[in-house]
């Protein structure tokens, strides 16, 4: 039992590695998990900001867009290498997060949420407005596949492993952040900002850094998205997407890193079951979400902690 407790992550990794090659490899099945993986990266980044630092963002899709469009434009129109373009996207997102973060993160709760929502809308309307550069509302096309050292990742299996390597790295780094002194400062800010400040924590600086980190993850997810779709349009980067991210976080269990990852997986794979209900799909999706929230108010990840506590009873809990 102890080995199970210590090496559960190995089992997970094995599952991830084996998934696409069970049975006949299919671009459809790989594709499902590629999209899910991209949203896991988004959700985990957002969890650092919302779950750990306690700052609400209803506009996270803005950084998703920045990463996607930077990668898309630089590779499709200016022949940049995808890795370089992703790098530029990350720098651009971090800078934007820094510039808007300082003033915006001083706001509280609802007002912060609205400011981030506004920022999301501004980014999307600018993308639509500057159609010469971004393709406007018609979308940006001919985005080449991702290449590493000249090797093209067009094949769905290759791209799946690439994306999920990034996912694993993202989750590992997020966990490392959470356990570091930086992470502890974030949690302190979340529980009581006044107290943290009185202990000498520069709250504004830490909140902005958390915001920048979340933006960087989102940007990476955006770049991966652009190269996979080969085509991007502003429709997928609006407030509805940001709201979906919120749902993923709370559905999975906010502030647990794995919870939001689970939430992302759930929300992205749910339509693959409910599409068969056709006209009833929307209603059924809503009802399923309601039911999950009623029975798991702390999120789906709560199941795992509960199960684990049953299998491996905690000492002195």
């Amino acid at each position: 039992m102890n080995t199970l407790k210590r090496y559960w992550w190995l089992i997970l990794l094995a599952a991830i590695a084996v998934y696409p090659v069970i049975g006949k490899p299919s671009p459809y099945r790989s594709g499902l998990l590629i999209f899910a993986g991209i949203y896991i990266i988004l959700a985990v980044g957002l969890d650092l900001l919302m779950g750990y630092t306690g700052q609400i963002s209803v506009g996270h899709a803005a950084f998703f867009a920045v990463g996607a469009y930077t990668s898309g434009i630089l590779t499709a129109k200016y022949g940049f290498s995808p890795s370089a373009a992703m790098g530029v996207g990350v720098v651009f997102s971090a800078t934007l997060a820094f510039l808007t973060g300082r003033p915006v993160l001083a706001l509280k709760e609802y007002y912060l949420a609205m400011a981030t929502l506004a920022f999301n809308e501004i980014v999307v309307t600018l993308i639509i407005g500057f159609e010469g550069l971004t393709g406007g509302a018609s979308g940006l096309r001919d985005i080449p596949p991702f290449t590493i050292f000249g090797f093209s990742l067009l094949n769905h299996l290759h791209y799946y492993y690439f994306v999920w390597t990034v996912v694993v790295l993202v989750i590992a780094s997020a966990l490392a952040v959470v356990r570091s002194p930086f992470g502890r400062a974030l949690i302190a800010i979340h529980s009581d900002e006044q107290a943290a400040r009185s202990f000498g924590v520069n709250c504004a600086k830490y909140k902005t850094r958390a915001y920048m980190l979340a933006a960087v993850y989102a940007s990476i997810a955006g770049s991966l998205f652009a190269h996979y779709m080969g085509f991007i349009a502003p429709d997928d980067f609006g407030i509805l997407t940001s709201i979906n991210l919120l749902v993923m976080l709370f559905l999975g269990g906010i502030g647990t890193i794995f919870g939001p990852a689970l939430g992302a997986l759930f929300l992205k794979l749910l339509p693959e079951i409910t599409y068969q209900f056709q006209d009833y799909e929307l209603l059924i999706n809503g009802i399923i979400l309601i039911v999950v929230l009623v029975f798991f108010p702390r999120g789906l990840f709560g199941i795992f902690t509960a199960l684990r506590n049953k299998i491996v009873p905690r000492m002195g809990k």
Binding site: P27, G139, F231
Partner: protein, 381 residues
Amino acid sequence: MKKLVFSLFVLMIFVALAAAGPAWSKEPIKIGGIFSLTGYLSWLGEYKKKAAELKVEMINQAGGVNGQQLVLISYDDNSSPEQASKVAQRLISKDQVVAMAGTASVPLSGAVASMANRYKIPTIINSGYAVDTSKDPYLFNTSHKTDFAVITAYKVFQKKGIKKLALLMPIGPLGEIGGTAARKYAAEYGVTIVGEEKFDVKAADVTAQLAKIRNMNPQAIFSFVTGEPAALIGRNMDQLSFKVPLLVSHGNANPGFLKLVSNVRTQMLVPSGKVMKPEALPGSDPTKKVIVEFNKKHIAKYKEPANYFSAELADAIDLIAEGLRSSGNTDPVKLRDAIENIKNFVAMQGVYTFTPKDHHGTRPDDMILLTVKAGKWEVPK
């Protein structure tokens, strides 16, 4: 004894199945449909799906293609490019379709185009997406080109002496395409674009923009927009007593639009395929027969006549079937070549002739300009 009876019973079933006839002996040919059944484009998704299903039924009743039945597998793209891409992949690798049809908007078409080209599945889209064959060799489009709609309208403008046109374009792909086309053909038909305003399709009101346009003294307004916004502009024009005709997109050639403009007095000009007014066609027009027959079956099955969107999909299925017939097999790459070689194929949107450079196949005179009078479609005098 029980086992013997059981085995005999099973044997009987197998014999019955084997003897059930040729319908069971060959695999049906799978065609994928991508329709917007939820999301902001959902109002037109149903028209397309119904027409596609009817056309497949009609082809199957006539014996199918090369002795095989067609099967339409359709999914909802939620009006989202990401979902359209996902659904296209589902059709391609899970359902293994030989061709796809659908997608109601430019971004949706773009997302699916990416997959169609990547996995080499011929796809017939129906939106304002202009197919550039050097980049999208696997794409065909049964929606008339925006250029055709503009040319059709401009010809009528010339006859009526309308020379000054103002543009009220939606922010979005249609607005971008419409504005470009409007300017491209202006000089040729003696039209001057006196100015352009933009509006948000989700706006509740465009009186502000109309007030500015009024200052430009146009003789007509062109807004390349579909659905509610088109009707809203007409209503706002009524409100301002702005008495010039309003030219909108050919996406409005459907019964829903008649309902939307039922109390609008502004003269609405809607470019359309001939499907909307077969009575006005001369007997010599080859498409008339196809339109009338499809319309009859559409009314019988769905209690409403076919509209522009129905024609787009009916033709898409027809073209795929024709490609299957001439290629003789279901290999998607060969199917694409077969479709590209289609010449003089009579369908509803026109007589299709594809070439390696032209994957739209129709011509400007395949369109007519219609107006709405007393809840019905009329040809303007």
